[in-house]
Amino acid sequence: MTAPLSTGLSGGAGAAAGDPGAAAPAPDPALDPQAQQTASPWRLAWERLRRRRAALVGAGIIAFFVLAAVFAPVLTAISGTGPDATDKRAIDPYLGGLPRGSAGGMSPQHWLGVEPMLGRDIFARLLYGARISLTVAFSAAVMITVIGVLLGITSGYFGGRIDTVISRFMDVMMSFPSLIFMMALLSVVQNVNRVLLLIVVMSLFTWPYIARVIRGQTMSLKHREYVEAARASGTTSARILFSEILPNLTGTIIVYLTLAIPGLIGAEAGLTYLGVGVRPPTPSWGQMIADSSLYYKVDPMFFVLPCSCLFLMVLAFTLLGDALRDALDPKGSRG
């Protein structure tokens, strides 16, 4: 009866002795790089992340698509067909322009088959479409992060009238029906680079979601002792914001950035599907889905391919984002 109690006690004493702050003979953390590394919260987060299979799967899929998009010219050179080349021999004019052969015309010349009517190579178009989809989603994600963090941090830190104005603005932005407004804007503005316009319009309606989170976190961070200390020692507000508060928001920012991307990829595809996004000669996944929806009865492979790419991409970012959230714990309980 006493034995477990005593081991419990000695265990407790041992742990206390191992605490560098409590015992003198503990190794100096500055002299021991190993100990310093294990203490770093980033290191801990990385360890937690590495143990999640879902995170690795997500990161793997993302890496696959990013590499495919980056090396699209190389890959199409290997496959032998570019995204705009039409191959009349691959389609059957007597069958209303459907691809010859099974599974949407998959063959050694066209690895993933061809489009009906035009006979363009689906593999090449998927690769080049990934370029557009990823460029739009990543750029918009960076933009909403910059706007959202700047406004959120300002609103949360200064409070008062500045907060009221920014918060009202966010409320109004969030009560816009975003899809409808994006479509209206995209259709009204003409003669502008569509990709750029798409990025701007999508960012315009998505930043308040991240700004709201950042605002809330800033409001709790600004009462921490180290911020009070910095303020008491006369540090300027700008310096406090960028060197005291912002570093503590990095985890949250990374998580929300990752979780915003699948929504943005989906939005780009949706807007293009509805005919206001990227215009026809430019290949994009949304464009391919819109085209293929006319042929779903007779050439199901044509819609399965771009839809699968979209599905995998959204899934990958969701998996990675969820895992990152668990690993970085943006709720701030890390302290």
Partner: protein
């Protein structure tokens, strides 16, 4: 409660006015002359000038905006001379392309959109709540893990994919039903359900997955509360603990989310409506955009904002009614 209500209503009026002004500016400041839109690309300049005059487009922007807002409450006569048309209350503009007031066009389509949104909501609530509660009560078992993996997968499914696969399998391969076309509930309730079944499922699946995840975390959080422990300690049966003390508070955030989602979908299910060719408000919007029927586009934008803002208010009121702490902020 009255003070809260007045504050909220005032806030809503301001927000709606801002939305209205922004919409108005988008359509009238940008280089898309409504007169040219109305008259056609090859319209002679003097004819364009005439149309401008008749449509009142030469007045300052603020005057035009004032007329537009006033017409919503009072109705107005659009144009003048031989082209004058009566636009009755509530006037959201007049579609010269189809020769009808925008309000009438929208109201023709609203039952379809409402049918789609409400039917889908019933399905996603049933699926999402059942899956979420089951997952929470069987936390960290194989059931929980299966449900959670399934929800991540289903939430990532693009609606086009769901729609096309459903159409391909149910309509083309199995031939279980003809291609869906909208039938009004009042005409044929059975046909209404049959034709909307595929659109409902398509729209509901994504939401069901999200609701399942929300419900799960909400129920788990509530069951860890001290009062649930107290209820258990008092010796209440587990059924009663979960049903009475666990689920009710856990479902409040779900109700909030439902209100917002329904508000957004009443005029915002554009892709689902386009995929199935349902003649809803979203389809009307997409079609009007394609043929540059600006009054309709603007009317629907305002209607959609109105739905979103109103559903926000309803949600807040319900919340304030349930939880008095929410009334202060």
């Amino acid at each position: 409660m009255t003070g809260f209500l007045i504050r909220r209503l005032f806030g809503i009026a301001v927000t709606l006015l801002v939305v209205c002004a922004v919409t108005f500016c988008i359509f009238y400041l940008l280089p898309n002359d409504p007169a040219v839109q109305f008259c056609g690309k090859d319209c002679p300049p003097d004819r364009v000038a005439e149309v401008r005059q008749q449509m009142g487009l030469n007045a300052p922007l603020i005057v035009q905006f004032g007329r537009y807002v006033l017409a919503i409450f009072a109705g107005r006569t659009m144009g003048s001379g031989s082209y004058a048309v009566q636009c009755h209350f509530p006037c959201f503009g007049y579609s010269f392309q189809s020769g009808r007031p925008v309000w009438d066009l929208m109201m023709d389509r609203l039952p379809t959109s409402a049918s789609l949104a409400i039917g889908a909501a019933v399905i996603w609530l049933l699926l999402g709540l059942a899956a979420g509660v089951l997952s929470a009560l069987r936390k960290n078992t194989w059931i929980d893990r299966t449900v959670m993996v399934a929800t991540i997968g289903v939430a990532a499914l693009p609606v086009y994919f769901t729609a096309m696969i459903l159409l391909y399998v149910v309509v083309v391969v199995l031939g279980l039903m003809p291609y869906p076309r909208y039938v009004a509930f009042t005409d044929d309730p059975f046909g209404w359900v049959q034709n909307l079944l595929l659109p409902w499922t398509t729209l509901a699946l994504t939401f069901a997955a999200i609701y399942a995840r929300m419900t799960r975390s909400s129920v788990i959080e509530t069951l860890a509360e001290p009062y649930v422990r107290t209820a258990r300690a008092k010796g209440l049966r587990e059924r009663r603990v979960v049903g009475r003390h666990g689920l009710r508070p856990a479902l409040t955030p779900i109700a909030t989310m439902l209100g917002m989602d329904l508000g957004g979908l009443l005029a915002g299910a554009l892709i689902t409506e386009s995929l199935f060719g349902l003649p809803g408000v979203g389809k009307l919007f997409a079609d009007s955009l394609a043929k540059s029927d600006q009054p309709v586009v603007m009317g629907i934008t305002l209607l959609a904002s109105f739905f979103i803002i109103t559903s926000n208010l309803v949600v807040d009121l319900v919340y304030a009614w349930i939880d008095p702490r929410a009334r202060v902020s």
